[in-house]
Symmetry: C2
Subunit: 358 residues, 2 copies
C-alpha cells in the first residue's frame, strides 16, 4: 500500500495520542513478573486464556506465514478478535544454541483494530513461555484428576520452571519429579523452584520420574521423532501434557501412547494434525478441541481411570491473550518505555514536516 | 510453536551479540535524512531497489496477510531473499484523519535468516514514503523521456515532496507544477521544496498543472473510483506515475487512460491486477513487470511519442530494500537506540534465570 493520504480532510492541530508506543522489553517482563509474582501472573493468564477461548468461534484464525530455510524457520502469527489485532514474530533455529543463541526468540505487537495503531510492542520469548505454561494449566485443570499432586517433568529446560509453577498455581501440584539427559538442567530447575517452596526430586531415569506421577509434562527439544514416553509408561488416571512435539518431524510420544490414551485434547485440530504428536496418527483419529471442553460440549476426563493427553503445539490466540494481559498490567507504568514508532505529524497530510528536526 | 529448547547442548558462557536490537524510530529516520540529505538517500535507495529487483526470481514473494474490518485494514507484509527476512506491519484507516490520526502507519523489522534474530526494528511510515518515491524514480528513469524536466503533481499530500525530490535526484526534473483540492497542501509542498531549490507552481486546476508536463504523478487519497486523469489529458511523450490507486475500489485514472497508453509497467502483476489502476481492465490486458524492463527483457519506452504508465501499488520487496539500506546506514550510529527485545540468557536453556532481575 502506498502512503498517500492526499484527499482534503480536517487538519488536526496536534499529534494523536499514540505517537509513542509502549515497549515492554525483556527486563520489563521480568520486572512485571517480580512485581506481581510469577504464579499470580500465570493464574491471571489462565483466566485471560479462558476468556479468549470462550470467544473461539468469533476469532479470526489466520494461518501462520512461515519462511523456511534448511537451517530454520521464521514465522509471523497474526490473530484478531475484531477489537484488537496481535501478531508474533518467532524463529526456530535448532543450531542456535551451539552459537550461544536462543533456539527460539520472539517479539510481537498488540494493536487497536479501530485505528490500526499499535498499543504495545513486546518481547515475546518470556511471554511465550508464560502462555505455553498457562495453556498447560488450563488444559490440565479440565483433564487431570482433581486429587493430582505429583508432577513429573521429562525435559528440564527453559519451559520447565514455568510449567511447574503454572500447574502448582492452578492445580496445586506441589511435588515435582524431573528428569533430563543433562543433570545440570535439573539442578537449575531446582534452583528456581526451591526458593518458591516447590521441592524437586532429581530422577535418574524417565521411569524414576514417573513414580507416583499424576501429571506428566514432556518438554524436550530434539527436532526428531522421539519416544520419550512409551505405552508401558502409562498408568490409569495419568494426564499427559505434551509440549515438545510442535512441528512436522518433531514428536515426543511413541505412536502406541497416542492410540492407548482414552482422550486427546488439542488447541486447534487443523494445526495440531500437522504439527503435534497426532501427526503420527491417521487424519480421521478422533480428537477434541479445548474450546469444546471449556464450553461443556465435550469432557476433558471421562472418569478417574482414564489416561488423558493434551497435545500442545502453541496457538496464536494464546499469544493474543498474553499480550492483552501484559498490556493491561503494564500500561502507564514504568515497566514500559515509550518509543516513537508511529509517525504522527501535527498535520496528518504533511509527513515531510517531520524531517525538520527537533 | 512452543518455546522448549530442552535438548542437551553446549551452554554458552555469555549472551549472544544481538540481545539488544537497534530501534530506528521516527526521529532517527528524520535525523538520518538530515545527516545524509533526503535526495542522497533517495538516490541510494534507487540503487538498492535496482539491486534487489535484479534478484527478483530468487525472492520469496509471500502473499500479504490482511485483516479487514468495516473501517480499515491491518496487514503484515513479509519478504525474504534467503539471507534476510523483512516484514512490515501497516494499517489503512481512511477515517483516521478526522480523529487527528494518520490514515496509514507502519513499522517493521529486518532479520538475519541464518539465526532468525532481528537486526533492526524500524518505524516504516517515513521509510514507506521513501521507498514509494524511489520506486517511482526507478520506473521513471526507465520510462520517461530522457529530456524530461517538468513534473506535474496531482495531489500534494504526504507523498508529494518525496516524489518531487526523488524525481529530481534521479531524473533531474527541476520544475514542479502541483494541484490539490486543498490549496494549503500545495503551499506546504512549496514550503518544503523551495528551500531545496525546487520551485513549485501552484496550479488552479488539473489542466493547468499538466501544461508542459513531461511526467505526471497522481497521488490522491480518496478511497473511491476517481478519474483524476482522463484520455483528453494525454499528450505524446508523457509518462504517468500513478501512486494513489492501490487497493480494490481505489483508482485514480479513467479507464480510457489505461487503454490509451502505449505501455503499462507494474511491480508484480498478480498483485497489481487486484490493487492497481489495472483492476479496471480485463485480466488478459498486457502489462510488463518492472523486473523485465530492468533485466532488458522488455522496454520501458518504445519511442519519444509513446505515452507510458507506471501503475504503482507498493510491493513488499521495496520495504525490504529500504530496511536493508536503513540498516546499513544506521548500524552502530547514535541514530538507533538499542532495545532489549530478544531474551538471551547466559544459558540458552535457562530462560527463567532472566526473572532474577538486575
Amino acid at each position: 500500500m502506498s502512503s498517500t493520504p492526499d484527499a482534503p480532510g480536517p487538519r488536526a492541530a496536534s499529534p494523536g495520542p499514540s505517537t509513542r508506543v509502549p515497549l515492554l522489553d525483556v527486563p520489563g517482563v521480568a520486572a512485571w513478573l517480580r512485581r506481581d509474582g510469577v504464579e499470580t501472573v500465570l493464574a491471571r493468564l489462565v483466566t485471560a486464556l479462558e476468556e479468549d477461548w470462550s470467544r473461539w468461534d468469533r476469532v479470526e484464525k489466520s494461518p501462520r506465514i512461515a519462511s523456511h530455510t534448511a537451517i530454520g524457520v521464521i514465522e509471523l502469527m497474526p490473530v484478531s478478535d475484531g477489537e484488537h489485532f496481535a501478531f508474533k514474530y518467532v524463529n526456530g533455529h535448532p543450531g542456535n544454541p551451539a552459537r550461544g543463541l536462543q533456539t527460539v526468540t520472539a517479539f510481537g505487537a498488540y494493536a487497536d483494530v479501530a485505528t490500526g495503531y499499535p498499543l504495545l510492542l513486546a518481547e515475546m520469548t518470556l511471554l511465550t513461555a508464560l502462555r505455553t505454561a498457562a495453556m498447560s494449566a488450563l488444559a490440565a485443570r479440565e483433564m487431570a484428576r482433581p486429587c493430582a499432586r505429583v508432577h513429573a517433568m521429562i525435559g528440564a529446560g527453559s519451559q520447565a520452571a514455568f510449567q511447574a509453577l503454572a500447574l502448582r498455581a492452578v492445580l496445586g501440584l506441589d511435588q515435582v519429579r524431573a528428569f533430563d539427559l543433562d543433570p545440570a538442567a535439573v539442578e537449575a530447575l531446582r534452583g528456581h523452584l526451591a526458593p518458591r517452596g516447590l521441592s524437586v526430586h532429581a530422577a535418574g531415569s524417565v521411569e524414576e520420574a514417573l513414580e507416583d506421577a499424576d501429571v506428566v509434562t514432556t518438554c524436550t527439544a530434539a527436532k526428531a521423532r522421539q519416544a520419550v514416553l512409551r505405552p508401558e509408561h502409562l498408568r490409569p488416571g495419568l494426564h499427559l501434557n505434551a509440549i515438545g512435539g510442535d512441528c512436522p518431524g518433531k514428536t515426543e510420544l511413541d505412536p502406541g501412547v497416542l492410540t492407548a490414551v482414552d482422550r486427546i485434547v488439542v488447541e486447534y485440530a487443523p494445526q495440531t494434525r500437522i504439527e503435534g504428536e497426532i501427526q503420527q496418527l491417521p487424519a480421521e483419529h478422533p480428537v477434541t478441541e479445548l474450546a469444546e471442553v471449556l464450553e461443556g460440549r465435550a469432557t476433558g476426563r471421562g472418569g478417574p481411570e482414564e489416561v488423558t493427553l493434551f497435545d500442545s503445539v502453541g496457538f496464536a490466540l494464546a499469544d493474543f491473550s498474553v499480550l492483552r494481559l501484559a498490556h493491561a498490567a503494564t500500561a502507564g507504568t514504568d515497566l514500559v518505555t515509550p518509543v516513537q514508532l508511529v509517525a504522527d505529524p501535527p498535520d496528518p497530510r504533511d509527513l515531510f514536516a517531520l524531517l525538520q528536526g527537533p
